[in-house]
Symmetry: C2
DNA sequence: CGAATCTTTCAATAAAAAATGAAGGATTGG
DNA sequence: CCAATCCTTCATTTTTTATTGAAAGATTCG
């Protein structure tokens, strides 16, 4: 058998109805987080897999490329959605889906949402300063909107930890 | 002055620091919802605008095209993030940013998140049926994951209305 | 009603994002 | 240490998404 890197793309072996259903479900969900289809494919496949799968098996089942499989697994590992299992006497890494689905949500909140909220708060401070140079008359309306946004962001930052905690349960 | 549709694209008139800051902020936020840059530009501009703006003014200030302005405003209208104001004796529609920022979040939850959660629940039911034909031995692990997902979705559907209510305050 | 103005639509183009696979790096078994 | 295997990286290609602006539709004014 030729080494993986030289191998022609393995033909996608047919997926079971169960696997297809799972894959479609996760493609749809992970799109909410802006993640590419390939990542949904990998996770969806692992989600209903009885045992751990190696990268080449994932490639063979889904028909995706080496690069996509490698990168997708990297991303999923970083987010803690997938982990490798130790199999004695086996060279290839084998992956299983982590049961903790909350990781998707909490990682998204912590790595996407919260940073943007913080940046926004800095921007608001700068904007408040800038507004002082607007004529008194016109300042009011945008100032009110800014206040509202500030209030709303503050509230958001308060719910988020609570929400994260709730999701982790 | 030539009619708008025939007019060459208006040169972007320079934006104030305040406007740039606001626009950048909303481009970043709305990207979370998967919305295009042009929409963030429009909303960011309106957000700090003292008075209502007509579409051609938005085009002139941001340098975006007729089509992008029209479509972006349509989207923002549909989501209730922007509304037209009545100005006596004025032909063009004029737009203001709605103060209710929560609309972005709640619309997203209601139009993107919830529908997907419902679809997922249907899929889960189908998957549970399909799993019955798996050999008893292998069924367990994916079945547990599915249970967890089901539980988690159920929880999610319970928080969401609460969250929406909280955000609307 | 008819001309002028304003808005929407959509086919074409441009820009951004994802997927591909060859090259090279890392690891392991002999 | 060498060779085989496995994994990652990244320049290129493909696919998807956003933008453009001309054409056509809708509205208003005289």
């Amino acid at each position: 058998m030729p080494a993986l890197a030289e191998a022609s793309r393995p033909k996608p072996s047919s997926l079971s109805d169960l696997e297809v259903e799972s894959i479609e479900m996760f493609i749809n969900f992970l799109r909410l987080l802006g993640w590419p289809k390939s990542v949904g494919e990998i996770y969806g496949l692992l989600f209903v897999s009885v045992g751990p799968l190696a990268m080449d098996e994932i490639m063979a089942r889904t028909g995706m490329s080496l690069g996509a499989a490698s990168q997708g697994l990297k991303l999923l590992r970083e987010f803690g959605a997938v982990r490798t299992v130790y199999l004695p006497g086996v060279r290839k890494d084998h992956y299983v889906a982590s049961g903790e689905l909350s990781r998707f949500a909490t990682s998204y909140i912590e790595e996407e949402l919260l940073p943007r909220m913080r940046t926004a708060q800095e921007r608001i401070q700068r904007m408040e300063k800038m507004m002082q140079s607007l004529p008194e008359s016109g300042r009011q309306i945008p100032a009110e909107r800014l206040d509202r946004l500030k209030y709303w962001l503050g509230k958001g930052q308060k719910v988020v930890p609570w929400l994260v905690k709730f999701l982790k349960l």
